[in-house]
Amino acid sequence: MSQPLVDVRDLSVHFPVGRTMFNQGVTVRAVDGVSLSIGKGEVLGLVGESGSGKTTLGRSLLRLVEPTGGSVRLNGEEVTTMSPARLRRARSEMQIIFQDPFASLNPRMSVGEILSEALHLHRIGTRADRRDRVATLLEKVGLPASAAQRHPHEFSGGQRQRIGIARALSVNPAFIVADEPVSALDVSIQAQIVNLLHDLREALDLSILFIGHDLSVIEYLCDRVMVMYMGRVMETGTVADIYQRPRHPYTRALLDAAPQVTTRRRTDRIMLTGDLPSPVNPPSGCIFRTRCPFATEACAQAIPPLLARAPGHEVACIRAEEIDLAPA
């Protein structure tokens, strides 16, 4: 792989919570020392349980959330230190698609206004240019041009999600963060959007960070996958690495827990006990050890480093070599 489009080193986002005049409050390490890179035209899948910091990571790449530390490079340029003016311009390079198609469109604006907002902001084109551009965008996402005059509430969830995608595309970005774009949609509609994203990616050579819960969708759509747990990367590798040769107990548990539409019932599943620990007071050492069936005392000692076990396949588990996790 040549120079990656997006290159993230040691990124952290910490939120102070409960801070008042008399109270220091506590810190939630929503993202803690995450590194990743996405090549041109590559789709990186990001999975993890709720609260594992997926959204925060995605937003911090675009500086919609200010990172606490680390570096984000887009096309080799550092994003975390950009001036506000530069950042505004840089935003046409990177965009985001949201989960909730109902909350992500301004109900007071027409679809045309929503799609041409970026042009407005960057003072691009005449009125007619903008109209054309909106029509093109709509066509790209499979909606008729007449949609421009309508308001978001006149569309169904799937259609709205298309509008959200069109908005992201309106600035011709090279990189898109897709934050669970299909989770809120009905199954029968999900397929439409998954197909659309797949097509767009091929057509426009987009780089995508695809955040999702649904492992089958991730497998279907992504090239590489990153597994997060409580703000840290547990494992990262190609789709085949992750789905067929998982090295981290958490990855394996996630795979086992994903409901499969199949008549074959598995018996050798790893089932986790308990829930996510409190993010304000995380366990020492390996953050996953409290739910891990393979945890030993050594796991509590130090945070396991993310080490390459095979080319491009990194795992953060000190027992990765000893335990056999390959699915039966």
């Binding site: 005049m21 008399f22 109270n23």
Partner: protein, 317 residues
């Protein structure tokens, strides 16, 4: 309920009170005219006498100095002497606080006892005729000017019917409980009307919100009947948002009693306020306004405590 929660809440109120005192002091001292004009009323007060008084009250100092002096003595409980009566402000306020609290407290209690059932009925039967009637009455209550209803009630019950004393707190030489209660009826009614109306609306809307919650459906699913669902599951949660309003309204009742107290010759804070205003009695006005503000702040703290008692989410982190 944690003790530190209380402490923190009270500590948080200190800068607030400080800000309030600054605002009040500024307003009063920005105003044209001074407090000593009250003495100029009489053609025979000499300039020397005025000067003596000025010094006695520290009015010859610069305003910021006066503020600091005032604040310092305020903190040690010395609220100064009333310019109008020459008596300690705090004493004066405390003597007037009793009747006001009595009037306000009873009105509160009455309002609460009437408003809660009204709100519940109207929420549980929303859309029904009962609901419309209660709603209509509530809005009428909110929209009725206090002084107007006071005048009309006096006219009807004291003059025409002669059933009730029209004003005052007790008959001279009587002061028995029944006599006091008789005197309370009209002012309490006037004062409660608006609060009953507005509280019943709050309770209703809180109740409507709560009744659409999932846990209400859960309660039904467990086999509870409607009455018991409302009393055991809905009411407490519906009261939570109403608590703040009720606490704040208590202070509003008291400070809003200006009119009621004037019309019904009730010897309370509100009237003292009007008197002091006419007399430009700075120390008294400051004292009263501070007292009122402390009341609001205290009511807020109490509301928070009640809130926390009702809502374990606040109580236990």
């Amino acid at each position: 309920m944690s003790f530190s929660f209380l402490i923190r809440r009270i500590l948080g109120a200190i800068p607030l009170l400080f800000g309030i005192s600054l605002v009040l002091f500024t307003i009063i001292h920005l105003a044209p005219g001074g407090p000593l004009d009250v003495y100029a009323d009489n053609p025979s007060v000499s300039p020397e006498a005025l000067e003596q008084i000025r010094e006695a009250f520290g009015l010859d100092r610069p305003v910021p100095v006066q503020y600091v002096l005032w604040l310092r003595s305020m903190l040690v409980g010395d609220w100064g002497l009333s310019i109008r009566t020459g008596r300690p402000v705090l004493d004066e306020i405390l003597t007037r606080l009793g009747p006001t609290m009595q009037l306000g407290g009873i009105s509160m209690l009455l309002s609460f006892l009437v408003a809660v059932p009204l709100g519940i009925i109207s929420a549980a039967r929303r859309g029904s005729r009962t609901d419309s009637t209660v709603t209509l009455a509530a809005f009428a209550g909110i929209s009725l000017p206090v002084f107007w209803s006071a005048l009309l009630l006096q006219l009807v019950f004291s003059v025409w019917l002669g059933w009730l004393p029209s004003a005052g707190m007790k008959s001279i030489g009587d002061g028995s409980v029944s006599d006091r209660l008789l005197h309370l009826i009209l002012p309490v009614t006037v004062l409660s009307l608006a609060t009953i109306a507005s509280w019943s609306r709050y309770i209703r809307s809180g109740m409507v919100d709560v009744l659409s919650q999932d846990y209400i459906r859960t309660a039904y699913a467990k086999g509870r009947r409607e009455g018991s669902v409302i009393l055991r599951h809905a009411l407490r949660n519906a009261m939570i948002p109403a608590v703040t309003v009720i606490a704040i309204d208590f202070v509003t009742i008291i400070s809003g009693a200006v009119i009621t107290e004037t019309v019904f010759a009730w010897p309370g804070i509100g009237r003292l306020f009007v008197e002091s205003m006419n007399g430009r009695d700075y120390p008294m006005l400051m004292g009263l306004m501070m007292m009122g503000s402390v009341g609001v702040v205290a009511a807020n703290i109490i509301a928070d405590i009640v809130y926390a008692t009702l809502d374990p989410r606040i109580r236990h982190g």
